[in-house]
């Protein structure tokens, strides 16, 4: 068997284009898939024009709010391209350089301030988008809606906080600064205390009854206004979101993406190589010659699977080593990687052998290998919650019949301690090795026929 293996490696070396394609293509796919899965969508590029005068402040009543850093807040969420004029902003959108333009007009702060006057004006900001690409347009709309909701929230919170302070002043009294002057506010509590201290000195009669009414009112007002303050701040943000941000910068390729990349590589290398090299035995007319006493069918199949595992292991380890240049990998789990790659490789090899034995011709085999492996691989990547329950069950059954999903599970488990159960994945793979091995053995009976 080792001589056959040596022969297949020699043949592989003799066809450098095929070898390079066989290795380069899956690695390319793997890296692309890995990136696509792990990278959060990039911040959209947005042209940003802030015409609001730098010293303009939002004020509530007679109080100015401190600068809330609008520019920084916006540019933290989108990639800002600062422009000088509205025309320039529009041009940037039209040229496709940016997805949208966001313009804060000069009168924005005045209008916000007018909200607390008898003649309120609605503050407006301008958004320029190109709706040439519906997907992009939706993305931009969502982003900008979110931005504006956030801006509204910030302003509402500030207003609520200021309102609360006023309320406190009315309740407890204190100093109010207005136009550089300080006015002392007595407050309800103090007023009540003064009135209450006056009461005993009053003779019973109409005046005393009136004072009693004032006292009752101040108590009522005090108690009710005290509940107003938290109510006000609640109003600004009725629903509190308890969001936990674990880490601001996720690694470019996380464990799962690495497992996906590795499994993709392994799957394509092994399935194509095993199926192709089995079909080549037939194409070269060597199959009858070999199986007339020189090699048994089982030995030939085993040799092909070993070939796939050997080459697949080499390519996958090479790819992981390459990825390790960019992403920290748990090299301490190397032993588990080997186990996962070997078991996955064997199962994928058995499937490749079955495929090769059934399709028989090299061309048909390559086509079929792609046609089977690619959709199964993508199905295996669909998270169970992403589709309906019935469809999800169906996908689960289909993907369980092909070694890609369990191989992915095994790789994820081997790469990351938080991954699925390695034992279960290995058992699944073992079952598939047996099943596809039998299928290949069976298909090989008709292999040499025309």
């Amino acid at each position: 068997m080792r001589w056959l293996l040596l022969k297949d490696l020699q043949i592989l070396r003799r066809s450098p284009l095929q070898a390079v394609l066989l290795v380069a293509y899956p690695v390319l796919i793997a890296v692309l898939v890995g990136f696509a899965i792990s990278r959060s969508p990039e911040k959209p590029r947005v042209a940003f024009l802030n015409e609001v005068p730098a010293d303009a402040r939002v004020s509530v009543g007679t109080r100015e709010l401190p600068n809330i850093g609008v520019n920084d807040r916006i540019c933290a969420r989108v990639e800002c391209v600062h422009v000088e004029s509205r025309a320039e902003a529009v041009e940037e959108v039209r040229s496709g350089d940016v997805l949208a333009a966001l313009i804060l007009p000069a009168n924005l702060v005045n209008r916000i301030n007018s909200l607390s006057t008898p003649f309120p004006n609605t503050p407006e900001i301008e958004v320029v988008v190109s709706e040439e690409d519906p997907v992009k347009a939706r993305l931009v709309n969502d982003r900008i809606d979110a931005l504006i909701a956030q801006a509204n929230l910030v302003i509402a919170r500030r207003i609520a906080a200021e309102g609360g302070k006023f309320l406190g002043l009315v309740l407890d009294g204190g100093d109010l600064k207005v136009l550089g002057q300080t006015i002392e506010i007595l407050g309800l509590r103090n007023s009540a205390r003064i009135v209450e201290s006056l009461r005993p000195s009053l003779p019973p009669g109409d005046l005393r009854d009136s004072v009693d009414r004032v006292i009752r009112f101040t108590r009522l007002a005090r108690n009710n206004l005290a509940t107003g303050e938290p109510l006000l701040s609640r109003l600004a943000q009725p629903i509190a979101v308890d969001k936990e941000v674990v880490d601001g910068s996720s690694p470019p390729l996380e464990s799962f993406a690495i497992a996906v990349a590795a499994t993709f590589t392994l799957a394509f290398v092994v399935v194509l190589l095993v199926a192709g090299s089995l079909a080549l035995e037939r194409e070269e007319n060597a199959f009858p010659r070999l199986t007339r006493g020189l090699v048994s069918h089982s030995a030939l199949l085993t040799e092909k699977v070993v070939l796939g595992v050997v080459v697949g292991l080499a390519v996958t380890l090479l790819m992981l080593t390459g990825l390790a240049l960019f992403v920290p990998l748990h090299w301490g789990r190397f032993g588990l990687w080997l186990v996962a790659i070997l078991a996955s490789g064997a199962a994928l090899g058995a499937a490749g052998a079955a495929l090769g034995a059934m399709a028989r011709e090299v061309r048909a085999v390559s086509l079929l290998a792609f046609m089977v492996t690619l959709p199964i691989a993508f199905l295996s990547l669909i998270p169970s919650g992403a589709v309906g329950a019935a469809l999800s069950d169906m996908i689960e059954i289909v993907t369980a019949l092909f070694p890609f999903k369990p191989a992915l599970d095994a790789m994820t488990a081997a790469l990351d301690p938080a991954g699925p159960d390695l034992g279960v994945a290995l058992l699944h793979l073992a079952a598939l090795i047996a099943a596809y091995g039998l299928l290949a053995r069976f298909a090989l009976r008709r292999f040499a026929a025309v």
Partner: protein, 261 residues
């Protein structure tokens, strides 16, 4: 040259089965039937060959020659009849070259010598390189060789099996006259000195007549004649009298015509 070949064949086929003298049938087929769908490729053919015999199987295209040989070789199964062949000792040289075209000449020979579990695969490969006269091209990838040269290696690989029965399906196709002569010299030597039974098919009637000690004529899956070249000549003269004084090939064609083929 001849001595050289004899020496080679002695090395390669040192052990001849004891007791299997000339005249004993080593390979035997009774009432062989082979069907491909509705078509009957063999319609109850009887055949046997003894130790050291050289049998030529001749007949028109589609007569069933390849089918018969591949059943004897154990590559395909008969649908009816019986086959008795010495287990594991039947060498087979297919009509279509069975080689790894992306391996070199030497790598092919070495691979099969190793698979045949030769004690010294290198030496066996050398013998075959010498026999085929391709020693100088040992390092060349088979795909780059001419068709005839590929056929030489195809035959050489079949010979590596050191069989007691050797089946050759149109072995001389594509060989130049010199190489043909070498092939038949070698094959005859195998039969004479090692008692190897050689069964070959050919479309070259003269070759069949010259090297085949016995001729089997197949047409449409039926055996029309089984006997010595002289016997066939006699039958041809008898049945196709109008072509009796022409050359053997013309007479043979006339004979087939008379038999309705």
């Amino acid at each position: 040259m001849h001595n050289n070949l004899r020496r080679l064949s002695r090395i390669a086929f040192a052990s001849v089965e004891a007791g299997a003298g000339i005249g004993t049938a080593v390979i035997e087929a009774r009432k062989l039937v082979k069907r491909f769908g509705a078509r009957e490729a063999l319609k109850g053919v009887d055949f046997e060959a003894s130790t050291g015999e050289l049998v030529a199987v001749i007949g028109p295209n589609g007569a069933g020659k390849t089918t018969l040989l591949s059943i004897l070789a154990g590559i395909s199964k008969a649908d009816g009849g019986e086959v008795h062949v010495p287990e594991g000792e039947v060498g087979w040289v297919p009509q279509q070259a069975a080689l790894y075209r992306r391996l070199t000449v030497e790598e092919n020979l070495l691979l099969f010598a190793r698979l045949e579990r030769h004690a010294d695969p290198g030496a066996s490969a050398e013998e075959m390189l010498e026999l085929t006269g391709l020693g100088e091209r040992r390092g060349e990838v088979v795909a780059r060789l001419s068709g005839g040269n590929q056929q030489r290696i195809n035959i050489a690989i079949g010979l590596l099996a050191r069989p007691s029965v050797l089946l050759l399906d149109e072995p001389s196709v594509g060989l130049d006259p010199r190489q043909r002569a070498r092939l038949w010299e070698f094959v005859s030597a195998l039969a004479e000195t090692n008692g190897t039974t050689v069964i070959f098919s050919t479309h070259d009637i003269q070759e069949a007549e010259r090297y085949g000690g016995r001729l089997l004529v197949l047409a449409d899956g039926e055996a029309l004649f089984d006997g010595s070249p002289d016997g066939l000549l006699e039958a041809v003269r008898r049945e196709a009298s109008e072509a009796a004084d022409r050359d053997f090939e013309t007479a043979f064609v006339a004979f087939l015509h008379h038999r309705g083929h």
